[in-house]
Each structure stands twice: as structure tokens, then as C-alpha cells.
């Protein structure tokens, strides 16, 4: 009887307080558990892939570490959940991860109907095609009738269908959920073409191909793919933190602050630098964080340029291109931190 009372009472209490029990903002949950849970790509060298010691590394991984540095003061307080393209949104919606830092394209549908909010762009990309060199194909317009390997649940899959429809060409898709399986099927000759974002093509060609020189990336870029971190809709505080963590690493590059010189630049007379590094208080408090939030990011992870150099340039040989800062001819334009 006592057990029964407890059961009924429990159900009533749970029902009454159901609203309150789940309404805690993400940042509180992150502080309470002591780490940031990030959803990352299962394996995309340059963006997120485990190294030989099993440590995650890459541009997207660095972004996750930046958020941990800003919120918890320690860039190592992260945990990574590798997600396929088809798993990622459910993982975020259901609260399995705090933030999705997994080369995800910012689109209208995702921003609205999928219940996500995008916190900026950390890589401007576009979709391309890769084929075997010995097929002698020079342009995507020659691809009619081809078999195309693509990851399901991506914008890539939709753009692919759009592109072939728009150009009155036919194609046969082979959709394999796991990116590694899909790229292996391509290298085994199951497909004539592999399509994904150009950075992904470069990554797979460089790191997975039996011989990178046997494959070419066709010149056509058929879409815009602004890739950025996403959070759940309805938690503005957390959205701000993620957005401004990304901005801080861009701002640091613009101001010439690196992990090496950040300590000495604390003495800088530039008021912008002083605000960013928390020498002048206010910015951290506005985000509900420690004043050293940006200092921690720069000191522990480095600015955006350092991260790009370390991960994308060195590993994949991709130069900055449109991912350069705005004052160097690129699209990266950090909003003012003031």
C-alpha cells in the first residue's frame, strides 16, 4: 500500500512539475555536469576526426572546445558524440547533445521547422563532385546517367536532385548512412561520382583515397553551404554563448591575438583588446560568464586563423579562400564585441 501511495503521489508530483523539471537552460545544465556535450561528424579529417591517440581534433572540434573554455574555463571539458548526418538533428532536439558542431548547413527549414537555431557560420562551403580521373570527365554537365554516392539526410542529397532536375540530367543515387561506408563504396567503384561539400571532398580525397591523384574534384560548385554550430530553439542564453564564442575567436584573429601572445596583449592599450580579454569588465558578465571567457578561448584553443591553419590548411591543403577575414577579402566578419 505504501508503494502504491508513493507511485500515485510520484506521478501526480511529476505531472504537476513537468514544466519546471525540463525548463532549465542549457548553460545551467552544462555548468552542473561540468562539460559541454558536442555532436560531431563521425569522421571528417580537418573538421572532426579522432587522431592516432583517439583525441578528437578539427575545426568543428576546436569550436566545441572554445565553448567549453568560455563557459567552464577549461577547453578540455568536452565530450563528443559522433553523429551521422541522419542522426544529428534528433540528437540535438532530444537533448542528447548541447550543441551541434558538425558541418551543418544553415537552411530555412532547419532554422524553422526542425526547431534549431544557428549561431553563426564557421566555414563557408559549397557542394562539389568528385570522380575518378581515368573517366576523363571535365565538368559536372557530363554526368547525366551517372551513379552518385551521397549521404542521406543532407542538403547535399537535395541539391543533387535539384541540380540534375534543373539540367535535365538523370542520376541514380546510392545512399549509405555511414559516411565511411559511403566513401568506401565510391572508391570501390560502386558509384561514378561522390558528392558532398567541397571541403569534405578534399578531406576524403586526401585522407581516405587509395591514391589521391587518381581522383579529381570537378570545377562546378552547385550550392552555398554555410556551415555553422546549431543549438535547440528556445534557449537564447545558450545561443548567445555559442555565437559569441565563435565571434571571439574571429575577433581575436582580426586583432592579431594568438594563443602565444595573448598574455602579453593583456597589457595592450587598445580598448577593443581590453574588452575582449576581460581587462575591461562587462562582456563576460553580459553573457553570464566569467570575464576571462574570451581570454580562455584564445589561450587554450587559439584564434580562428590558428585553428584553420592547424586543421584545414595543414591537413587538407585548402587555403582560406572565402573563409578569410572580411578585411582580407573573405566573408568572416565578426560582429563587434562591445
Amino acid at each position: 500500500m505504501k508503494a502504491l501511495k508513493t507511485l500515485v503521489g510520484g506521478a501526480l508530483v511529476a505531472a504537476t512539475f513537468s514544466g519546471a523539471a525540463v525548463a532549465g537552460p542549457t548553460v545551467d545544465a552544462v555548468k552542473a555536469k561540468g562539460f559541454v556535450q558536442c555532436g560531431v561528424n563521425t569522421s571528417l579529417p580537418g573538421f572532426s576526426a579522432p587522431d592516432s591517440q583517439g583525441q578528437w581534433e578539427g575545426l568543428d572540434v576546436d569550436l566545441c572546445r572554445s565553448i567549453a573554455a568560455a563557459v567552464l574555463g577549461d577547453a578540455s571539458k568536452t565530450k563528443f558524440t559522433p553523429l551521422t548526418a541522419a542522426q544529428r538533428f534528433t540528437a540535438l532536439q532530444s537533448g542528447e547533445i548541447d550543441v551541434l558542431t558538425r558541418n551543418t548547413t544553415w537552411t530555412l527549414t532547419r532554422d524553422t521547422k526542425l526547431g534549431l537555431n544557428f549561431a553563426g557560420v564557421n566555414y563557408y562551403d559549397g557542394q562539389g563532385f568528385m570522380v575518378a580521373k581515368n573517366m576523363g570527365i571535365k565538368s559536372a554537365t557530363e554526368l547525366s546517367g551517372a551513379t552518385v554516392c551521397v549521404e542521406p539526410g543532407t542538403t547535399t542529397e537535395l541539391n543533387l536532385a535539384d541540380y540534375f532536375r534543373a539540367n535535365n540530367m538523370e542520376f541514380e543515387p546510392v545512399v549509405i548512412e555511414d559516411a565511411n561506408e559511403a566513401i568506401q563504396a565510391f572508391f570501390a567503384g560502386r558509384c561514378d561520382v561522390y558528392t558532398t561539400d567541397a571541403s569534405g571532398l578534399a578531406s576524403y580525397r586526401q585522407t581516405s583515397a587509395p591514391n589521391p591523384d587518381d581522383y579529381v574534384i570537378l570545377p562546378e560548385i552547385i550550392s552555398k553551404e554555410p556551415l555553422g554550430p546549431a543549438v535547440r530553439h528556445g534557449d537564447d542564453e545558450w545561443l548567445d554563448i555559442v555565437a559569441w564564442s565563435l565571434t571571439a575567436s574571429l575577433e581575436a584573429e582580426e586583432k592579431g591575438i594568438t594563443s602565444a601572445n595573448v598574455d602579453s596583449l593583456k597589457a595592450s592599450s587598445d580598448p577593443g583588446v581590453q574588452r575582449l580579454l576581460g581587462v575591461t569588465a562587462g562582456m563576460g558578465e553580459a553573457l553570464g560568464l566569467d570575464e576571462a571567457w574570451a581570454y580562455n578561448i584564445i589561450k587554450q584553443v587559439g584564434n580562428y586563423g590558428e585553428s584553420y591553419e592547424r586543421n584545414v590548411t595543414k591537413k587538407l591543403g585548402l587555403d582560406r579562400g572565402i573563409n578569410a577575414l572580411w578585411n582580407k577579402g573573405g566573408l568572416m566578419y565578426p560582429n563587434p564585441i562591445r
Binding site: 545512399v175 548512412e177 563504396a185 528556445g234
Partner: protein, 401 residues
């Protein structure tokens, strides 16, 4: 308790208010408990549903099935009905359902066939055959299906040539790592006539069989209704073919650009999935068949031997009909497993129900709705199979006279 102790005064119980008295009655107490438990379940259900709706609303995720009529705009590699990216999500899901049903039916038929043969071979007096089927069962039953799928898929992809170097074993048949392509007859009305003739022939076969059985029961004279019926059906089909104009035009696959076009083809993904499902399930079916046969008392073999029946005849006429009663219930389970295991298709890129639902929920964000749809479909498929198998089981059950 000593008998000398005076009985407790009952006045206590009588002093209880009427509702407590009611509560201490066993019958009413049972009812009260049931109401409480049901109430708790309803509360729990209500809590889950309202919590889900709250969360969805807070995250600004729309609910409902409206998305089914939106344009899907993704491609699907193989489909039994016409499909293009301009069709709706509803149609895309239909393609997935049909693909699931297709691979399940073909898989069930093949797995039953192979499983029965291997199960019988397991009991064969031939040492080599017995050991070989034992090894087959133990190997494929103990390796996880998912790994087997990866294995078959990788094997086909890497060991078979690309379309331009296609193997050409005979005629217009080509084997590539994209699939097997072969010529099929071009559409002609004659094929409908042949189908009609085949059905008619089978009806004749059935009547013949009934007559043969009745005759044997009456006179003891056997009649080879199997061979006669088969010849009858074949003759009818050939006659229909000749009378309808004997069409011979073939639709042959031709290498055009990247791939073979035309003809009939089985894709690599379908083949890999079918191989995996069939082989995996056939090992379980083999063990079910083996144990079914072993469950028939030895005396049945000895008695039939004594009657002078041939071994094949004993198996067919005496042993298997009795074994079936033991075999069918666990066999039903294997059919259900095969159907449900086909959802692993997503690993090898076969566009089954789960694969297409996953894509749909990812593109629309309607995770709960999409999962509800495919849970409903699998539930219906499973209940359908078990209804059919229960009907069959009842037919085969021991009729007690």
C-alpha cells in the same frame, strides 16, 4: 492462539464507517487497486504526451502529418512504383514500404528453401554433407547480421568489375558491381495469355491430384499426379505462347554512358541485403527443421521402412507432415525476424522503409511522426505474417478424431 482466549469483540469492525468497511472487503479492494493502477498508467501516458508536446512547442517544431504531401526532392535508387524527386514524402515512404515487402518476401522464400535443405542435410547419413551443413549453420548463425551485410556488400563492390569491364557469362547477361543486368522479353500480350494458361493448368493439376488421392484411397493404385500435372501445366503455357503469336523480341541491357540501360537488373544493395538476410535466417530455419524431424519418433521411420517405402517417400509423406507441427510455430518467428531485420538495409544503402523514413524525418524534422509511421507498418507486417502462419498452423495441426 489458545482456544480458551475469548474471541475478539466484533464491535470494533462494526464501528468502522461504511466506506472503510467496504474497503476491507476483498472484492471492492481488488476493484480499487485496478482503478488506481489504471489511473497511474493514464497519468504516466498523459505526462509523457504533454511533456513531448510542450518540448516540441518550446523548440518550435511543428507536429502533424501535413509533411506527407510536401515535395520530397530527394532521389531513390530503386523503386517498384514510378518515383521522382518531384513526388511527395508520402510516395517516397510508399516506395520504402514496397521495397521492404519485396526483400522480405523473396528473403522468406529463399531462406525457407535453403533452411529446409540444410536442415535435412544435417541429418543425412552422408558424413561430408552432414559436417558441411553443420559448419554452414554454426558459421552464419554466430556472426552478427550487420557484419554479414557489410561483408557481402564489400565483397560484391570490390570483387566484381565496373560496368565497362562487366563479366559477360552468357548472352545478354552482365555482372558488375552495380548489379546484375539481364535481357527480358519485351512486353507482349502473349505473356498475359501464358499467365492465364498457367493458372488454368494449375487448377487442372489440383483437380487431378484430388482425383488421384481419391483413387488411391479407394483402390490403392498410386497415380503420379506430380509429373502429370506439371506436364499438363507446361503444355498449356506453351500452347498459349504459340497461339498468341510466339513473340521473341527481347529487351537487352546496353552499356550507355556510365551504366547499363534497359533489360532487367538486381542492384548490388538488394543482392547484399538479400544474401545476408537469407543466409542468416536459413541457419535458424535449418535448426528448426532438424529438431522438427528429430521430434518425430524413431518408430515412424522404422514402421515406414518396414512397409517398404523409399527414403524420399518416407521423408515427404510420413516424417515432414508430422514434423511440420513442431516446425511451424518457431518458423513463424523466423519469418518475423527476417522482416524486421530487413531494417538493417540502411547500412548497405538499400532504400527500405527505415532508410527512407530516416531521410524524411531528417529533412522535415517530423521524427515522432515518421517513427510512428514505420512502427505502425512493421507492426502490421508482423501481425499479417503471424495471422497467416497461425491460419496455416491450424490447418496443419493434429486433427483428433
Amino acid at each position: 492462539m489458545s482456544r480458551l482466549t475469548p474471541p475478539l469483540p466484533r464491535s470494533d469492525a462494526n464501528k468502522r464507517p461504511w466506506f472503510l468497511q467496504l474497503f476491507y472487503e476483498e472484492k471492492t479492494r481488488a476493484i480499487i487497486y485496478q482503478i488506481l493502477v489504471t489511473g497511474a498508467l493514464i497519468l504516466l501516458g498523459w505526462y509523457l504526451v504533454s511533456n513531448t508536446l510542450d518540448n516540441l512547442a518550446r523548440q518550435n517544431i511543428a507536429t502533424g502529418y501535413g509533411f506527407l504531401s510536401l515535395e520530397a526532392s530527394f532521389g531513390i535508387s530503386e523503386s517498384m512504383i514510378a518515383y521522382s524527386p518531384a513526388d511527395t514524402y508520402g510516395r517516397a515512404l510508399m516506395v520504402g514500404i514496397l521495397n521492404t515487402i519485396k526483400v522480405s518476401i523473396v528473403g522468406i522464400l529463399l531462406a525457407t528453401l535453403i533452411g529446409t535443405l540444410v536442415g535435412i542435410a544435417r541429418l543425412s547419413p552422408n558424413w561430408l554433407l552432414r559436417q558441411f551443413s553443420g559448419a554452414y549453420i554454426n558459421t552464419f548463425r554466430n556472426v552478427p547480421l550487420l557484419l554479414q551485410l557489410f561483408f557481402w556488400y564489400a565483397l560484391i563492390n570490390t570483387s566484381l568489375p565496373k560496368p565497362r569491364q562487366a563479366l559477360n557469362p552468357f548472352g545478354d547477361t552482365f555482372i558488375t558491381n552495380r548489379g546484375i543486368y539481364t535481357a527480358i522479353p519485351e512486353y507482349h500480350v502473349a505473356y498475359w495469355w501464358m499467365l492465364a494458361a498457367a493458372l488454368l493448368g494449375m487448377l487442372g493439376w489440383w483437380l487431378l491430384r484430388r482425383w488421384a488421392i481419391r483413387r488411391q484411397q479407394a483402390t490403392g493404385q498410386p497415380f503420379h499426379h506430380g509429373i502429370a500435372g506439371f506436364c499438363l501445366t507446361l503444355l498449356a503455357v506453351i500452347a498459349a505462347y504459340l497461339l498468341a503469336g510466339a513473340p521473341s523480341a527481347m529487351d537487352a541491357p546496353v552499356l550507355q554512358g556510365f551504366n547499363f540501360k534497359g533489360g532487367w537488373n538486381i542492384s548490388t544493395e538488394f543482392t547484399a541485403l538479400l544474401l545476408g538476410l537469407t543466409i542468416y535466417t536459413s541457419t535458424y530455419i535449418a535448426e528448426i527443421v532438424r529438431s522438427g524431424i528429430e521430434s518425430v519418433p524413431k518408430g515412424q521411420w522404422e514402421a515406414s521402412n518396414a512397409l517398404g517405402l523409399r527414403p524420399g517417400q518416407i521423408l515427404r509423406e510420413i516424417i515432414l507432415p508430422q514434423a511440420l507441427r513442431v516446425i511451424i510455430p518457431p518458423l513463424t518467428n523466423q519469418f518475423l525476424n527476417l522482416t524486421k531485420n530487413s531494417s538493417l538495409a540502411v547500412a548497405v544503402g538499400y532504400p527500405d522503409l527505415v532508410s527512407i523514413s530516416n531521410t524524411t524525418m531528417n529533412q522535415t524534422g517530423q521524427a515522432i511522426e515518421a517513427i510512428a509511421i514505420f512502427m505502425t507498418i512493421y507492426l502490421s507486417l508482423s501481425l499479417g505474417i503471424s495471422l497467416f502462419m497461425n491460419w496455416y498452423n491450424n490447418r496443419m495441426a493434429l486433427v483428433e478424431r
